[in-house]
Symmetry: C2
Subunit: 160 residues, 2 copies
DNA sequence: CATATTGTTCAGTATAAACTAAACAATATG
DNA sequence: CATATTGTTTAGTTTATACTGAACAATATG
């Protein structure tokens, strides 16, 4: 078996104690942030690993570094790839897939958010046009909400 | 027992069939949108009711209109109040609390989002300063991520 | 061909969250 | 005071999701 980028047990020994702790903490916190954003905790942790380390990480690197099952790595790397945050890469003479952070990871994230607001806007427009004008209050409040989503959408688009 | 704003069984009969259906659909979709945003489905549905109807809705109005338990209404109205989306109101001679949509519901929502990004920014800053400069790649990627969150924060703030 | 490696899928389990129903405290009403 | 109303809280249930571990297919290697 090929030696992986770095064995999880040897991380700490190859760097400053405090640094190792900082990294560990960052990885766990990113898991929680991911969770708060509605993503699996593991997805956030994988992302954190790829933010910290320069080297592309293989499937097995990740299972060892994060101590989770291959199934989870498979599922969550695919998720992150779909979100446009990471991408697969390969090395010649190696069968394994490697993962690295994408160049501009966050723009595509924004596109995902944009798509979601688009759904809300569609619903609001449809509801407005389906409801009779006599429901003035409802029409007004729907307009306000739609107006907000429109502005939000613009703001998000300006970030990409 | 006081007659409530409108009995759920009589909604349809007092308005156009198509209109009733549109409202029903809007309420359910709002539940799903709330869910996608990490909120309980019921919170979205309560919000939808208050968007559609002019009248302040009591606790019991909501339980009847949405066919959910009082416990859920209690929990979720409190949640929506804390998010700044709705507010309690009262009527003289009435013991019940009533709920209405706030005047500008969405700005305070944004403030909540802002607070969440603030956490991420704090983590990124702390991690950057705790990690040694020799970890150039990590420093760069952390900066990029922080940069993104900074811009996002600005964009969100511009909406309020 | 037999064995090993790699990634995916899926059944089952664990965990977390939503929701209900009932108990409860506080207040009002008669 | 007894009873009813109102909102909150909490125990228990349901439901959804994350995660594991093992089976699997595909491919490589000897």
């Amino acid at each position: 078996m090929k030696k992986s980028v770095q064995d999880s047990n040897t991380i700490a020994s190859s760097m400053d104690e405090a640094t190792a702790h900082t990294i560990e903490h960052f990885i766990e916190k990113m898991g929680l942030i991911a969770q708060a954003d509605g993503l699996p905790r593991i997805a956030g942790r994988i992302l954190a690993v790829l933010v910290i380390y320069d080297e592309p990480h293989s499937f097995t690197d990740l299972t060892e570094k994060l101590a989770v099952s291959r199934g989870s790595i498979s599922t969550n790397t695919r998720l992150l790839v779909n979100l446009g945050l990471i991408e697969r890469s390969t090395k010649k003479g190696e069968r394994q897939d490697y993962f690295v952070l994408r160049e501009n990871p966050y723009t595509s994230l924004m596109q995902g958010i944009e798509a979601r607001t688009q759904e809300a806007r569609a619903l609001l427009k449809a509801t407005k046009s389906d409801l009779p004008d006599v429901l003035e209050g409802a029409q007004t409040r729907l307009s306000q909400m739609l107006d907000f989503y429109n502005k939000f959408s613009e703001a998000v688009k300006s970030l990409t």
